[in-house]
C-alpha cells in the first residue's frame, strides 16, 4: 500500500473533500446522466456532499474491501435510498450506477498527483479505490434489481385480483370467466369470490368459462371439480363452458370424469342452458321480421 504499508485513500478523501466534490459534480454532468427536471442542481450537490462525507467516515476504519461490514452501514443506507428514489423517477440502472462510478476519475486524479513519483504505490492505491467503487456501484444495481422484482411481484398480485371477475349475467345467473394459469393461489381467490357472490346474489346457476385457460391438467380439473362441488352444496348449479376440442380430447385421455358436470363448448350455449334452467325462454318476436 502506501509508504507505511497502509492505504492513504482515507486521508486523501478527508484532505481534498471540497475539490473532490467539485470534480465529481463536473464528472457526473459529463457522464451524461439523465438529469432534466428530476434532480435539481442543489439537490444533487447536497446528495454528493453527504455521500462523500459518509464515504470518508467509513474509510477511516481502514476497511476498504468489505462494504457489508458494520462501519459501511450508513453508506449502504444512503445508496439504498438514492437507488430507490431514482428507480421511482425512472432512471436506468446505468444512470444509477454512474453516480458511484463517476467518482473514479476525480479520486484517481488525486491519487495520481499524490503518488506521481511512486508507481508501485499508485498502482496499489488505484486498485483499492477501483475495487471499492466497483462494489459500491454494483450494490446500486442489486438494489435496482430488487426494486424491480418487488414491483413485478406487486403487479402479479394486482393481476390476480383483476383477472378473476365474477359477472352477473342475468337475474340468478353468474358467469366466471377464467383467464390464464390456474395456479393454486389464484384458484383459492376465484373460489372464494365466486362463493361469496353466490351468497350475495342468491344465484341459481353459475357458468365457469375456461376459454382463456390454455392448459387443463389434473390440478386444474381438480380445482374445477371442487368449485362445482362447493357451489352445489349451496344449492347452485354449475356449467363449464369454453371446452375447446383439443381440451376435450386431453381431458378424456387424462381420464378426468366430468360426466357429473354440464359442459358446453361456447359461453353462449351455456347461457341458454342457464336461462332455461332458471325458467326463462328466449324467442325471436314474430311479425317484425
Amino acid at each position: 500500500m502506501s509508504l507505511n504499508g497502509k492505504t492513504t485513500i482515507p486521508e486523501i478523501l478527508k484532505k481534498y473533500q471540497a475539490e473532490l466534490l467539485t470534480d465529481w459534480l463536473k464528472e457526473q454532468a459529463a457522464a451524461g446522466i439523465r438529469r432534466d427536471n428530476f434532480i435539481k442542481e442543489t439537490e444533487l450537490r447536497q446528495q454528493c456532499s453527504e455521500f462523500l462525507s459518509l464515504l470518508t467516515n467509513a474509510t477511516q476504519s481502514g476497511n476498504l474491501s468489505d462494504i457489508f461490514a458494520p462501519e459501511w452501514s450508513q453508506v449502504r443506507e444512503m445508496l439504498t435510498s438514492i437507488s430507490n428514489s431514482r428507480t421511482r423517477q425512472g432512471f436506468t440502472p446505468r444512470d444509477i450506477a454512474l453516480f458511484v462510478f463517476s467518482f473514479k476519475r476525480p479520486l484517481f486524479d488525486h491519487l495520481r498527483k499524490e503518488f506521481a513519483h511512486n508507481g508501485e504505490v499508485l498502482a496499489d492505491e488505484i486498485w483499492s479505490a477501483t475495487d471499492l467503487l466497483d462494489k459500491l456501484g454494483l450494490l446500486t444495481t442489486e438494489i435496482y434489481q430488487k426494486n424491480r422484482e418487488e414491483l413485478i411481484a406487486r403487479q402479479q398480485e394486482e393481476m390476480l385480483e383483476l383477472s378473476t371477475p365474477v359477472v352477473k349475467l342475468w337475474e340468478g345467473i353468474l358467469a366466471l370467466p377464467l383467464i390464464g394459469t390456474l395456479d393454486s393461489a389464484r384458484t383459492q381467490i376465484v373460489m372464494e369470490s365466486l362463493l361469496q357472490m353466490i351468497v350475495e346474489t342468491s344465484s341459481q346457476v353459475v357458468i365457469i368459462d375456461i376459454t382463456g385457460v390454455p392448459t387443463v391438467d389434473t390440478l386444474v380439473a381438480q380445482h374445477l371439480l371442487k368449485t362445482v362441488a362447493a357451489a352445489r352444496l349451496m344449492g347452485t348449479d354449475c356449467i363449464i363452458s369454453g371446452i375447446r376440442p383439443q381440451i376435450a380430447q386431453t381431458i378424456v385421455h387424462l381420464g378426468v370424469d366430468l360426466s357429473d358436470v354440464t359442459t358446453k363448448a361456447k359461453l353462449g350455449d351455456a347461457f341458454l342452458v342457464a336461462l332455461s334452467r332458471s325458467g326463462f325462454k328466449i324467442s325471436r318476436s314474430e311479425g317484425e321480421f
Binding site: D183, D217, T218, L219, T250, L254, G255, V256
Partner: protein, 134 residues
C-alpha cells in the same frame, strides 16, 4: 435416431411449471405438431413437472427435438433425485395418489404420449421420458 436440438431446465417451483408449459408449447409449435398434439404434450409435461416438484423435491427437464428418417419427434425427460416410487405399477393406476390429487397424472400422461419410459429407485430418484412423434 438423431437429436437435433436439446435444452435442459431446472424445475423446482410452481413458477417453473408455468415456464415448462410455455417452453414445451414453443418447442411443439416449432416442430410442427397439430394444436391437439401440442395440447397433449403440454398437458403431459405439466403433470410430470408438477409430480417432480410435489413428490421428487424438484428436478430437471431435458427437451430433445428428434428426427428419425422423415419422422420428427419431441422427447421430454424428467429427472429428480427424490425418494423414488416404491411400486410403479401401483403409481400408474388411475386414481392412485399419495398426495391429495386425482391420481391421474402419471397414467394420464402415458395415454397422452406415444412413448413412456419410467425408471425409479427408492432413495435414488425417478426418471421419466415421454416422446411424441409426428
Amino acid at each position: 435416431m438423431a437429436v437435433q436440438k436439446d435444452e435442459v431446465m431446472s424445475v423446482t417451483s410452481s413458477a417453473d411449471i408455468v415456464l415448462v408449459r410455455q417452453i414445451v408449447r414453443k418447442w411443439s409449435v416449432e416442430l410442427g405438431f397439430s394444436l391437439i398434439d401440442q395440447t397433449k404434450i403440454v398437458t403431459a409435461a405439466s403433470e410430470l413437472a408438477r409430480n417432480m416438484v410435489d413428490y421428487g423435491g424438484g428436478g430437471k427437464l431435458r427437451l430433445e427435438a428428434l428426427s428419425e428418417g422423415i419422422r420428427r419427434g419431441l422427447r421430454l425427460t424428467f429427472e429428480d433425485t427424490g425418494p423414488g416410487i416404491p411400486d410403479i405399477d401401483l403409481a400408474l393406476k388411475d386414481g392412485y395418489t399419495t398426495g391429495n390429487g386425482l391420481g391421474l397424472g402419471l397414467s394420464g400422461s402415458k395415454r397422452l404420449m406415444n412413448e413412456f419410459e419410467i425408471y425409479s429407485r427408492v432413495g435414488e430418484g425417478t426418471r421419466i421420458a415421454i416422446t411424441k412423434w409426428r
